[in-house]
């Protein structure tokens, strides 16, 4: 158990498209509105970076995820160019290829185009099916547009996941959930509105009421469960068989490549554990700057894995994690695990460490206990 057993082959790829039609007031991602010439430069550098990654790692992809930003905001030829760059260097996902889609960008023709390029799953930023809520969130689409986008994608044979933002003041939560489910999505990501520092909402002093937050978290889970969706992660729900394979790779701490500005990857390192690398923002990235790698010591690897894995309803298999990290997790973190169990925040069932409902509600604090240990 003293030798870590890292992965050699990378099976997942994330591609970051940093452009959006406008910046939402709650957004703290690395995104920009597009400017003349920038997308061309971006695509050129992306092709180079894909080459470099292909030369450096043993890649055999199961999943590809094109996120942002708003990838669907790229023009048809641009997105075709992007897919071509990836396919020609790193290949394409065998099992799942997701495109993040903004409702305002969908048409039957474009949907067909995307499907033709090899995308089979769409993650649609519905956010709400209530016009007032959408306006409050600064979204450009309305409820009808969002519904139409989902329907169109389903008709073009996409597996569809709908994003919801909950805990918005005045939001008719139950109606939103019913509406989204009845459109026929197989997967829902429901995030409580969080006011991140530096966002427009933060500047405006918008706050989220504690009761709204509680409802957004618990009521959403209950309503979706009643409608046949399993909560398999803190904010993610799926019908049986419809879990996101790509995102599961993150939550189970697998290696994945990150392509594009601001993208981060979790890379295998020969003879050692993994390292994480986050690309710099667009301007530096365009110059070829690849950011700094942070090698993970066994403890980092374990706390990463717990940080992500405890988000999952299935929790973390400690025996498997100990083997991968080359560190006896139960010996090293026994006291924390015991204390958290006594506090009713974690359960240990054989080798499986899971959060309770209470623990999930304060997961950051649970994770802090491990980081402090």
């Amino acid at each position: 158990m003293t030798h870590p057993d890292p992965e050699r082959t990378v099976r997942h790829l994330y591609v970051h498209v940093p452009f959006c039609p406008s910046i939402c007031p709650y957004c703290d991602f690395h995104v920009l509105t597009r400017r003349a010439g920038q997308v061309e430069a971006y695509l050129r550098r992306l092709r180079e970076e894909a080459h470099e990654l292909a030369g450096r790692y043993d890649v055999d992809l199961d999943t590809v995820y094109l996120g942002g930003g708003t990838p669907s905001f790229l023009r048809d030829d641009e997105i075709a160019d992007l897919v071509d760059a990836v396919r020609g260097t790193l290949g394409w996902g065998r099992a799942e290829n997701t495109l993040e889609v903004n409702p305002g960008t969908v048409s039957p023709e474009r949907a067909a185009h995307w499907r033709g390029l090899g995308f089979d799953r769409a993650s649609v930023g519905v956010q709400s099916l209530d016009d007032d809520t959408l306006r409050f969130l600064g979204r450009r689409h309305d409820a009808r547009g969002a519904a139409a986008a989902v329907t169109t994608l389903l008709e073009r044979d996409f597996r569809v996941s709908g994003d919801l933002i909950t805990a918005v003041p005045g939001q008719p939560l139950e109606r939103d959930i019913d509406g989204l489910v009845s459109l026929g999505v197989e997967h829902v990501s429901a995030y409580t509105l969080t006011i991140e520092p530096g966002t427009e909402f933060a500047r405006r002093g918008v706050t989220v009421a504690e009761e709204d937050e509680q409802r957004g978290f618990d009521v959403t889970a209950r309503l979706l469960a009643e409608r046949g969706f399993e909560r398999y992660e803190v904010s993610n729900y799926a019908r049986p068989g419809a879990r996101s394979r790509h995102n599961l790779a993150y939550w189970t701490n697998r290696a994945y490549l990150g392509l594009g500005p601001g993208a981060s990857g979790h890379y295998p390192v020969p003879g050692a554990l993994t390292e994480r690398r986050t690309n710099p923002h667009l301007h530096e990235w365009l110059t070829g700057d690849a950011g700094e790698a942070e090698p993970s010591a066994p403890e980092d690897y374990v706390t990463d894995a717990l940080f992500m894995g405890l988000r999952l309803t299935d929790g973390v298999d400690l025996a498997d994690l100990s083997r991968r990290a080359g560190l006896d997790v139960r010996a090293r973190y026994g006291e924390v695990i015991e204390a958290e169990r006594r506090a009713g925040r974690l359960t240990l069932d054989g080798d499986r460490l899971r959060t309770t409902d209470a623990g999930r509600w304060v997961l950051n604090d649970v994770v802090r206990s491990f980081l402090n240990a």
Partner: protein
């Protein structure tokens, strides 16, 4: 060689320790290296808080302008009312005092109290008007007040400044001229008074003594009068203020004795030391034991520390004869000690000294005064522990302790301060004018001034009022016990006894404060105050606020994890009550002031 033994006494902050610095400096007793302010405040806590807690003796040599040489034993004493017992013990080792008055403040409440302590002990008083360098100083006025209030002729006062050193020469001459040579025959059988002590890990108990008769040297056999036990003296010496080993201590000397006394109980402050082979039949009267007036429970946060706490209390008691303790058990807190103190500051200081000097983590329960109850079956008993308070139907008569409170303040604040005293159920005895100031004398229930009275008084009078008090016995009072429930369970350690008129507001204050200081828990926790089972106030500790990242995907892992890593968890003093973590502040909720 001649000797003069004297203490410096005054109201709190009138500059005793600072003036001592100047005297030490003048007599070359301050090494360049350890030059710092208030040299005689040797405890870390004294330095941090800028107040004197313990009396500290120091031996000095003074050569007069005419060439005569004197040994001076100076004892710097605390000014705060809680540490008055330190002053009275120090005075037992002296023939005189320097009575300081701040020239900008004039005579204050403790100036009077300390002056009378000296008078009662038949000590010679050398009045010193201090801080005359201050722009607001009125030295003549202060001297006049001394004459008016205490009867010390104004023309005897020496004007001085502990800041500039003005007047120090005059003070030294006055000490020699006005304070008498200590009496006693160095060849008589030994008789010495223990006026203080502390425990040293290597040498055992170090006794601070004033030799009254005879001489003591290393290898002498001594006997303690109170228990008849004998010890061989290892070392004797004087204070620098550290311990300096010497040859002998002769009648009139102030110094220390180490005699390998390992059992703390053998060394009682106030006891008389005699020679084993020539025991005296008459002990020195000693001092009347300090009467603790405020009680609270002290519990170790982790139960394993109980024994260490007991040892620490015993050792500390040696160095602070004024507090008492006995074991007590609480359902909520486990094994601990009920401790008696001379006041709130004293309680606070003891807790802090225990924590620092003995490395303990403690929870203190709310301070309480001693009530006297007459039961229906005729028995009378005193209790300071709310947990022992009997049910109403068994009580015939309830009495609470009263104090005579003296407040000195400028005229313009008399109105608001009298208003405050009415709120505190006080009744006026008299009111005296002292120049432009007023002395208010009131009878007040002690419980009413225990918590936030001093702070209120200071804020109402913009810091100009000073106070002092003494216990004057018991008066009938309609008392009730307020129970505090956490998660619907009564927590014995949180109960308080209070006058019925104050029960509702106090109950409200306690539950609100507790709900504020108890950290959020997994589930909402109700906090209730009840009297005889009837709920009078309620507040809720909220459940945890959501603390989980909504979104956590590939792009963000490192950044978000780093954010968590930065938020290290602080370690707080907590005690688990049921499933609820209750911090120290919650136990002291009753102390929080009305305003905050």
């Amino acid at each position: 060689m001649h000797t003069r033994n004297f203490s410096i006494i005054a109201h709190v902050d009138h500059g005793k320790s600072t003036l001592a610095d100047r005297i030490l400096e003048r007599l070359g007793a301050m090494g360049e290296r350890d030059k710092r302010d208030q040299t005689l405040d040797t405890l870390e806590l004294e330095r941090e808080r800028g107040i004197t807690i313990k009396s500290t003796p120091v031996r000095l040599t003074y050569t007069r302008p005419n060439g005569e040489t004197y040994t001076l034993n100076l004892i710097d004493t605390p000014g705060h009312v809680d540490f008055n017992y330190e002053v009275s013990r120090s005075l037992a080792a002296c023939e005189g005092v320097l009575l300081l008055v701040d020239a900008s403040q004039g005579v204050e409440a403790q100036t009077i109290v300390n002056a009378y302590l000296a008078i009662d002990n038949n000590l010679e008083i050398v009045p010193v008007v201090n801080k005359i360098d201050l722009p607001a100083a009125d030295p003549e006025g202060a001297a006049r007040e001394l004459e008016e209030v205490i009867g010390i002729p104004a023309d005897q006062a020496i004007f001085a400044s502990g800041k500039t050193g003005v007047g120090v020469d005059d003070i030294l001459e006055a000490i020699v001229e006005r304070i008498p040579e200590p009496p006693g025959d160095p060849d008589a059988p030994l008789k010495a008074l223990i006026f203080d002590s502390f425990y040293d890990a290597y040498q055992g108990v170090i006794l601070f003594v004033r030799v009254l008769e005879g001489t003591v040297r290393a290898k002498d056999a001594i006997t303690l009068f109170s228990n008849g036990k004998s010890f061989d003296v290892d070392k004797v010496g004087t204070f620098s203020p550290g311990l300096v080993v010497g040859q002998e201590l002769r009648a009139g000397a102030v110094g220390w004795i180490a005699a390998s006394i390992k059992d703390i109980h053998d060394a009682q402050v106030g006891d008389t030391i005699t020679a084993k082979d020539q025991p005296t039949t008459e002990p020195f009267p000693g001092f009347k034991p300090a009467q603790p007036v405020v009680f609270s429970g002290l519990y170790p946060t982790s139960t394993e520390d109980y024994r260490r706490l007991r040892e620490a209390l015993e050792k500390l008691k040696l160095n602070d004869a004024a507090f008492v303790f006995e074991p007590e058990t609480s359902e909520a807190l486990g094994f601990g000690f009920r401790c008696g103190f001379l006041g709130l500051l004293h309680a606070e200081i003891i807790q802090e000294r225990l924590e620092r000097e003995y490395d303990l983590d403690l929870i203190a329960t709310a301070p309480a005064v001693v009530y006297r109850l007459t039961l229906t079956n005729g028995t009378v008993f005193e209790t300071q522990n709310p947990a022992e308070f009997p049910t109403r139907d068994r009580i015939e008569l309830m009495e609470e302790p009263y104090i005579k409170l003296s407040v000195m303040l400028p005229e313009e604040y008399v109105g608001p301060v009298m208003q405050l005293l009415v709120e505190r159920r006080g009744s006026m005895i008299t009111m005296n004018y002292v120049g432009k100031r007023v002395e208010l004398l009131y009878e007040v229930p002690f419980a009413e001034i225990l918590y936030d009275f001093h702070d209120r008084l200071k804020s109402i009078s913009r810091g100009y009022a000073s106070m002092d008090y003494e216990q004057i016995g018991y008066r009938e009072g309609d008392l009730v016990k307020v129970d505090i429930l956490v998660q619907a369970e009564v927590v014995d350690a949180l109960a308080v006894i209070v006058h019925r008129d104050k029960a509702y507001s106090l109950g409200r204050k306690i539950v609100d404060k507790m709900a504020e200081v108890i950290p959020r828990q997994m589930f909402p926790v109700p906090i209730q105050a009840t009297i005889g089972g009837k709920i009078i106030a309620r507040a809720t500790v909220k459940a945890y606020r959501k603390d989980v990242l909504a979104k956590c995907y590939g792009g963000d892992i490192s950044r978000k994890k780093k954010l968590l890593d930065k938020q290290k968890k602080g370690k707080a003093r907590m005690k688990n009550i049921g499933t609820v973590e209750v911090p120290q502040e919650a136990f002291l909720a009753v102390l929080s002031t009305e305003e905050g």
